[in-house]
């Protein structure tokens, strides 16, 4: 950029005239500040290179994040929708309640087999009534279009409300996984040709039913409330138990980790003498935070389930129980919370401690009146980060049996629900992703969306709480 000094008359070292008497006259040539020296140029160049690199890194990570969210939502959104067939079903009393007294105990003798027959007949009748051409498809294939879970749903509805018997009601029967996939575009005619679970005839009928308005796809609350289901009926599988299990575990981890973690941090930071023992504890806490999570799973299996639950007979500690899951996750979260809390406590200016001690506050009062409130935002952030990583943890839960097929909701906490078998969202994602039916892959992505929403709620809570505490200057 030597042209700059050339373009600026009088600025170059040669134009010494006006400055001849100035401080620079003594020998050091005058250097103009209107141009950049070679060294300055090099410094500016490294700075701009660094800025470009930083920006690239951020854009790259944003792009990856966007790609990840895009794929998850592309593959997972459809899990929140379900294809259903609207069919008028006559719930005849002779079939469903042969005793005729609407007694629930008597009615439970009619199994899903009975209801299946009722549904199948009603479905065929409805097809005929709508004038849908079905003569090219065997009746067995037609009834196979209905989900195997539909009869169970109807039976549960009827048992919950026996007054339905004798009426003809419009029911939205859940369509089978392949028909559902065909409606959502996941199953195509090309892929169906290679698939033994669906025939061309069924797809033809599905098309005709759609034209006749019998088949439609709508929002599916069942995905959020249903339990897991067997390999043959992905369309009725839901994340209900997983949501509840994750919520139970987060609650338990919170109430176990935060008091212990904060108390340990306060003790170590404010009260403990600084000696070899506390150094050792400090190093160990830092190391525990870095232990692979599956190790905690093995520990949990050995200590909580085998020793405490098995040999010592603690009833609450059972395989697959959310209490055991929470204990294992607590072991893993505790070091994170302690490290974050200690950093937050250490960041409180010592002048505040001096001020409190100087007017005669005890150490305890100093900590609880002044240090802790100021450290609160940091503690909250650390806690939420710890909980978030616990929420997404899968490996240790696999080892303590939370990957099991759980078809029943755990009971309410006051009925001992913490020791009922449950599963967790990330484990559900893993277990569905490993099943062969592509309909489960869709559910798996749907479960990831639920997990992300969970994380979002937790982070927003953290931000709101943080703001509230920070507002107290």
């Amino acid at each position: 950029m030597s042209d700059i000094s050339a373009n600026t008359p009088g600025a170059g070292p040669t134009a010494g005239g006006p400055n001849a008497g100035g401080p620079n006259a003594g020998g050091k040539p005058k250097v103009s500040i209107l141009g950049q020296s070679a060294r300055m140029k090099a410094r500016n160049r490294t700075e701009s290179v660094f800025k470009v690199l930083g920006l690239t890194a951020i854009l790259f990570s944003l792009a990856i994040l966007a790609l990840m969210i895009f794929t998850i939502f592309r593959d997972g959104t459809s899990a929140f929708f379900q294809t259903r067939m609207s069919v008028p079903v006559t719930l005849s009393a002779e079939v469903l309640d042969p005793a005729g007294n609407r007694n629930r105990d008597e009615m439970t003798k009619q199994t899903t087999m009975t209801y299946n027959k009722v549904i199948n007949e009603a479905f065929l009748a409805a097809l005929a009534a709508k004038g849908i051409k079905t003569d090219d498809v065997p009746a067995k294939e037609l009834t196979d279009m209905i989900s195997k879970g539909a009869a169970g749903e109807l039976r549960a509805d009827v048992l919950a409300d026996p007054s339905l018997i004798g009426q003809t009601i419009d029911i939205a029967l859940v369509a089978g996984g392949r028909i559902d996939g065909y409606m959502k575009g996941r199953v195509t005619r090309a892929s169906a040709e290679r698939d033994t679970n669906v025939t061309m005839g069924q797809l033809d009928v599905a098309d005709r039913m759609k034209e006749a308005g019998m088949l439609s796809t709508s929002w599916n609350w069942d995905f959020l409330t249903n339990t897991d289901s067997s390999d043959t009926r992905p369309e009725t599988a839901g994340v209900g138990v997983a949501i509840l299990g994750s919520a139970y575990m987060m609650f338990l981890v919170l109430i176990m980790c935060v008091p212990v973690g904060v108390a340990a941090s306060i003790y170590l930071e404010e009260f403990a003498p600084k000696n070899r023992w506390t150094d050792l504890i400090e190093v160990n806490i830092a190391n525990l935070a870095a232990v692979p999570s599956i190790v905690y799973g093995i520990l949990g299996l050995a200590i909580f389930i085998n020793v405490l639950g098995g040999q010592m007979g603690v009833e609450a500690l059972k395989m697959s129980a959310s209490l055991v899951g929470a204990l294992v996750l607590s072991l893993q979260t505790l070091p994170t919370i302690i490290i974050a809390t200690r950093a937050a406590i250490r960041a409180v200016p010592p002048s505040i401690r001096d001020a409190a001690l100087g007017i005669g506050a005890s150490k305890m009062q100093t900590v609880f009146h002044h240090v802790l409130p100021l450290a609160m935002p940091g503690i909250l952030t650390g806690t939420i980060l710890g909980l978030a990583s616990a929420l997404g943890e899968t490996a240790p839960l696999l080892l303590i049996g939370m990957v099991a097929f759980v078809a029943n909701y755990p009971a309410a906490p006051w009925d001992g629900g913490f020791s009922d078998p449950a599963t967790a969202l990330p484990v559900q994602v893993y277990s569905w992703a490993s099943r062969s039916d592509p309909a489960f892959i869709e559910r798996s992505n749907g479960a990831i969306i639920v997990l992300l929403v969970f994380l979002l709620i937790m982070n927003v809570t953290a931000i709101i709480l943080r703001r509230r505490f920070e507002r107290r200057w």
Binding site: S351, D354, A356, L357, I359, A361
Partner: protein, 265 residues
């Protein structure tokens, strides 16, 4: 700031508040205070002067056992407050600090309201029975700190929102609120501008009527302006201790003379 005039001094010989004798302080291996004996009079201002690192702040902090918070710090010798040794095993330093208040170099109000800053001490020591009494203490403390007129309309505004000088006076009000017997001030004006310094100095002179005040200062002018007694520390030794007028006009030790004339420090 070449104001070396010495105010009229009427040091009442009304007794000794703190009697320190043979005090030694070690920080680990370093010997910070070497055999210091000093008598702090009641209802007077005593100034500790000396170059940086001479131990004057350390000695101040031994007077209310703030050094206890530093694990490597060891204190030997006797410090008697009204005849009782403050390093006796039976003394709880927390109780001691309610009697020997402290104001720090940097204004450090709590991040709470002005009212809560002043009310905190009385609250934790249970000095009041009801809100009205507490309000009374807060008002009188803020008046003693010459801050009442400036903040009486915004007692519930954050104390950290005040200017530097106001914050320091708030800290003084906070220290005064527990009605201590001795008030220790560790360079209370070093973070303040000249106007705020003048206000705080004026305040210190007024506080003398109620408290025994000990002030550590870097500024000899300040010591000359506000104190009745002056102690000169150098390298952990108490070089000279006496009437301020005598120290500044007729120092006995050559080191004191070198310091006040600006040749060392």
């Amino acid at each position: 700031m070449n104001d070396m005039r010495i105010a009229d001094r009427t040091v009442d010989a009304n007794g000794i508040r703190i009697k320190a004798s043979g005090v030694q302080v070690h920080y680990g291996d370093s010997h910070a205070i070497k055999d210091v004996s000093v008598d702090i009079p009641d209802k007077a201002v005593t100034a500790f002067i000396g170059p940086s690192g001479c131990g004057k702040s350390t000695f101040l902090r031994t007077l209310n056992r703030m050094n206890d918070t530093i694990p490597i710090c060891r204190v030997q010798g006797n410090i008697l407050l009204d005849g009782e040794n403050i390093y006796d095993k039976r003394v709880d330093p927390v109780q001691l600090r309610a009697k020997v208040g402290m104001v720090f170099q940097k204004p450090n109000p709590f991040p709470k309201s002005i009212y809560d800053n002043v009310a905190y001490g009385p609250r934790i020591h249970g000095l009041t029975r009801n809100k009205a009494e507490l309000d009374g203490i807060v008002e009188s403390s803020l008046r003693k700190a010459a801050l009442w007129n400036e903040v009486k309309d915004r007692l519930h505004a954050p104390g950290t929102g005040l200017s530097g000088g106001q914050q320091q006076r708030l800290c003084i009000a906070r220290a005064v609120a527990t009605s201590p017997e001795v008030l220790l001030m560790d360079e209370p004006c070093s973070a303040l501008d000249p106007i705020a310094t003048a206000q705080v100095e004026e305040l210190i002179d007024e506080l003398r009527s109620n408290f025994s005040v000990v002030i550590v200062t870097h500024s000899m002018q300040q010591a000359a302006r506000v104190s009745q007694k002056t102690a000169f520390f150098h390298l952990g030794n108490l070089v000279e201790f006496g009437e301020t007028s005598q120290i500044f006009t007729n120092p006995k030790d050559p080191r004191t003379e070198s310091y006040i004339t600006g040749r060392i420090g």
